[in-house]
């Protein structure tokens, strides 16, 4: 049974490539029951959005000091 530490590792890994089937299923089962980890997954997605915006921000905004 997956605990939250393991689930966070798998969610991070899923940002960088596909998980194995068994991992995907275990993670899905865990997420069904764990709201904290569902929020964590959303935060990872937000972190990616923010990081992309950060690099674009430097490229697109001449007025910024």
């Amino acid at each position: 049974m997956l605990n939250c530490i393991h689930a966070t590792r798998l969610m991070s890994q899923a940002q960088d490539g596909p998980l194995a089937l068994a991992e995907r299923l275990a993670l899905r089962w865990h997420l069904l029951k764990c709201q904290g980890c569902r929020h964590f997954r959303q935060q990872l997605a937000d972190l990616r959005t923010v990081s992309r915006a950060f690099t674009q921000r430097d490229a697109d905004r001449p007025q910024d000091k």
Binding site: N3, C4, I5, H6, T8, R9, S12, Q13, Q15, D16, G17, C34, Q35, G36, C37, H39, F40, Q42, Q43, L44, D46, L47, R48, T49, V50, S51, R52, A53, F54, T55, R57, D58, A59, D60, R61, P62, Q63, D64, K65
Partner: protein, 195 residues
Amino acid sequence: MTDFPQGVDEHDFFTALRTQMLKFARLQLGDGCQAEDVVQEALEGAMKNAPSFHGKAAWRSWVFAILRHKIADALRYRYHAPVSLQDEGEEDFDALFDETGHWPAGERPVRWQQPDHAMEQAQFWRIFELCLSHLPQQPARAFMMREFIGLETPEICLALDISVSNLNVMLWRARMRLRECLSQRWFASGREQDA
């Protein structure tokens, strides 16, 4: 230089652009001299090969695209030597979880409120940079290669000379720390709701 868009105050434009590029490069390379070098190379490369760009924005995006590649090259070259994972203990993450490895009640992640709104604010970006600067060096490099430059797993592993599982651990650590830092320093107001 002759291809540069007309009607632009070149001096101001380049001064501002150079400052932004330097800041960007310094953050990722952690080395002022090397940052100066890659910025210089990127600007020269952009000048030399510039086709006609319509307007400053397009030109700037293009220069930054070149800069990202220069930074990626610099990181690749630098991390020819094996990376040590030893300096990174895992014990600091234990505190985030209870003894069974689950989020303790009251410490469970909560939804970040209005990240879009945050991204419009200069103060948020200062905090983001602060959090980034608090990351240990190796996970920070791996994270920036992945999320800023957009390199894929095999490229980063090759550049840092580490295994896929080592990279996974590094990225996990970087993300754990960044989310914790941003949660505490910016998104903290939503925390009580989940207790």
